[in-house]
Amino acid sequence: MKTASTFRELEPEGPRVRVRFAGRDLLLREGGNLAAELLAAGVTPFRRTPVSGAPRAPFCMMGACFDCLVEIDGVTRQACMCEVGPGMEIAMPFAERDGDA
């Protein structure tokens, strides 16, 4: 789930906050774009599709493709449309799907 990121921050300075993604702690730039910050932290994939379970990660970064979906406080959100806040609890959406339906 976490690999060495190919994304690099040109201005890595600035305050960071602790955020949990799928059970692991990450230090992300406060107020940064959540999808970007997760990419920089090496998170991939962001989710698995409910149809086939295929891995997905951000594609458009402009709120149009919905491949960056994550679950924040029980609500599915587009990570590329969210800003990082302290203590965010983030999960992969649909994680507990039982595959029965």
Partner: protein, 366 residues
């Protein structure tokens, strides 16, 4: 002549009838409209349903029951033919109530109907706690529910696709993107489309949904059909949340929760209104509070095809012998009956079901 039967309208009703006729070795041509036409078959709620139907006309209840009982075999045959499974689930369904009073009133009416049906109306009443055992997601505002064991649901889009594929596989000829403008009869029926296409057939079935209102009178039918808008919502795909369908919400086989449905008399207007969808969203949350956090991905408005009393119309044309009007509000529920039993009625065999009460003549009385 092109075929034994010309079917005008390729929605779930026309295709079910065509499929049944093809199964009996009849040749069939289906003529269907364009991509933008009103199609109830594309916008419905997918219930394969018995409860609350025919409260004033037991024959409608028993006709629905016959269809529901035939649905499993029908679905199986479609699946064998096409590999497409219409996702039929028949484990019962609920009528949810937010007050003890409405629940009791409904039960009283069900008892009357049950007696008229000779006792064949298997339902039970669940109080809040019993319901909660069955449906953990149910909220505190729900007083209870009627669980009817003959109820169920299917995926109406998969049904439509399977029918479209299997009608072709069985040798049916399907003309898409055509609009029938006139029907005449000499030795055979001559059906003319706006683009000049002509189809000739020995018999013809008018099953054009709302389009039947305009064509019907030209073929000797009253066809008193009107549109009624229903707005429907569907959420993102969710983990299993609802076990059984209700009239308010059901979880479809792909995972989304479908929420319905408004009843609005607004003519041929199938737009979605904020007021309409906000209202049904609020109702669904009252029933299942966890839905408040679910994302709505799509909503739509679709037009019901309604007769004055909401019951189907099965009518033989006196003016044009060999022409039949077939239309109903619950085309998904009745798909199996239309596929399995209606061909006998069209062909006038000894097994023909008695559909007298569904004749247009009933509208003379009022």
């Amino acid at each position: 002549m092109d075929s034994d039967y010309a079917i005008i309208g390729g929605g779930v009703v026309g295709l079910s009838v065509a499929w049944g006729l093809l199964g009996r070795g009849r040749s069939v041509t289906v003529i269907d409209g364009d991509d933008g036409s009103f199609r109830a078959s594309r916008g419905n709620f997918g219930l394969v349903w018995v409860q609350s139907k025919g409260m004033n006309q037991p024959r409608y209840a028993s006709w629905s029951q016959a269809s529901v009982a035939a649905w499993r075999g029908f679905a199986e045959e479609l699946r064998e033919g096409t590999g497409e499974d219409p996702a039929l689930r028949q484990n019962g369904g609920y009528d949810l109530h937010f007050s003890e009073e409405t629940l009791a009133e409904t039960v009283a009416r069900y008892e009357v109907l049950k007696a008229k049906l000779g006792g064949n109306y298997p339902y039970e009443v669940l109080g809040h706690n019993e319901l909660r055992m069955e449906e953990p997601a149910i909220g505190p505002k729900v007083a209870g529910a009627i669980l009817h064991h003959q109820d169920g649901h299917a995926n109406p889009l998969k049904l439509l696709r399977a029918l479209a594929a299997d009608v072709r596989r069985r040798g049916g000829r399907v003309l898409n993107g055509k609009t029938v403008q006139s029907v005449s009869r000499n030795d055979v029926f001559r059906i003319e489309c706006t683009d000049g296409t002509i189809v000739e057939a020995a018999r013809t079935v008018l099953s054009a949904g709302l389009g039947s209102a305009a064509l019907g009178p030209k073929m000797g039918f009253r066809a008193p059909i009107r549109p009624q808008r229903g707005q429907v919502l569907i959420t993102e795909k969710l983990p299993k949340l609802l076990n059984r369908p209700s009239l308010l919400a059901r979880q479809v086989d792909e995972g989304g929760v479908q929420i319905g449905v408004t009843n609005e008399e607004v003519g041929h207007d199938d737009t979605v209104t904020v007021e309409g969808i906000a209202g049904i969203a609020a109702q669904a949350i009252a029933a299942y509070p966890v839905l408040a956090k679910a994302q709505l991905v799509r909503s739509w408005g679709a037009l019901r095809v309604l007769s004055p009393d909401g019951l189907p119309i099965y009518q033989h044309s006196r003016e044009m012998p060999g022409a039949y009007l077939v239309t109903c509000h619950s085309g998904v529920t009745l798909a199996a009956a239309h596929a399995r039993f209606l061909p006998d009625w069209l062909e006038g065999t000894a097994q023909a079901p008695d559909l007298e009460v569904f004749s247009e003549d009933r509208f003379d009385l009022s």
